[in-house]
Point group: C2
Chain length 234, copies 2
Amino acid sequence: MAKLVGTPATVRIGRADRTESERAGASARAAGRLREMIRAGRIRPGDRLSEEEWAGALEVSRNTLREAFRLLGHEKLVVHELNRGVSVRRLGVDDVIDIYRVRRLVECAAVGRVATATPADLGRLRAAVAEGDRAAACGEWLDVGTANIHFHQAIAALLGSPRVDETMGQILAELRLAFHAMPDERAFHLPYVGWNRRLFTLIVDGGADAAGAELEIYLAAAERQLVGAYPAGR
Amino acid sequence: MAKLVGTPATVRIGRADRTESERAGASARAAGRLREMIRAGRIRPGDRLSEEEWAGALEVSRNTLREAFRLLGHEKLVVHELNRGVSVRRLGVDDVIDIYRVRRLVECAAVGRVATATPADLGRLRAAVAEGDRAAACGEWLDVGTANIHFHQAIAALLGSPRVDETMGQILAELRLAFHAMPDERAFHLPYVGWNRRLFTLIVDGGADAAGAELEIYLAAAERQLVGAYPAGR
DNA sequence: GCATATTTGTCCGTATGTATA
DNA sequence: CTATACATACGGACAAATATG
């Protein structure tokens, strides 16, 4: 609508007022803002993202927005259908099952290598547990989910592999899309706060085998809960 | 300035002459052609990819080419530095080491599940072995490398996880960038043709443990060979 | 099933900023 | 330090595909 094309004088159109701290390119910045909205559930899975609408809202050109869409598409947060634009990804039951397949493979192998963990590794685990406690005390269930993601990312990090870290970050971000489909966020997230703490104790002084066995149970339970929440169809 | 708004008649400007058979979006098509050139080594790691030059060569606009670059960037075949454009990825020693870390994790877990393999799974393994023999007989070392990639992708596929399949496809495509750094392609690729055949036999009738042990040795040897070929620096 | 409105895919031209010879 | 080349980003245009009445 705006149509503020005129003013041929030096007008500093566009993003002349950037806050200095954000220096990463307009497309990456737009992608970041969209990612945050998806993460927070302000845009729900299945929602269409109109190019014109969001180019206006984020104050970038359509071309720039399309580059942002590509970024999010590669992170699997949005899907891009030819000539039909992009929409927020909607996870199917098969996606949830596959994600837990990968989590079992990676996380169980990771706790098996707890013997080689550095103090920094253990610090990340401990910090994520504390973060979950704090968020649960405040009733901030979105943050509880974030802390949970951090905890399991810290588990995967025991493998010391950048590529594993990246993959885990991606599939856990995908999984959050399924969190938003849960009817009662509190009931969904609360059990894992205590469970994470118990798991942490097992990892640091229970030994690899005990921790691995517990993690298997943990992941199976979480998968069952998510899959069970799906309606008959997808 | 142009202001060529007129010509309300049907004027078919631009790419009205597309060959009908390629119907996947110009950006995906451009990415495909670039991917193939990188795969074949016609563009070498480290080469800069000028937007203007390649937009002309591939007969697409710069905007479309940039979308193609994003695709390849996420596949880690090219790197994108802000304000410095893109260049073909150059693998470091740390990348090779990390890739083999992931390969050990995934492929060894996969052969451990050979008991649940379907006939189709085994068929893919067998076909990849045959493909390697055939290519080696012709002296087509690029195709030998491709067959080797297919073989290990078929191993990973025993896990039955789309996400694992995708990740493996990606890191094996990355790894091919390192193949191109090998001084003598024949000497590099030849040993694996026979080794793959032996490994295949072990997998189908040697049992999971024997196959897993052999695969560990195989991967360690391959990693050592690639790392050893790197000059002192990166 | 058809005509129309909307949205996407692609291209162009251009201005601005950044890196390098 | 200046000049030049190139990447980033913008806005406008229109054909083609899709959705809608």
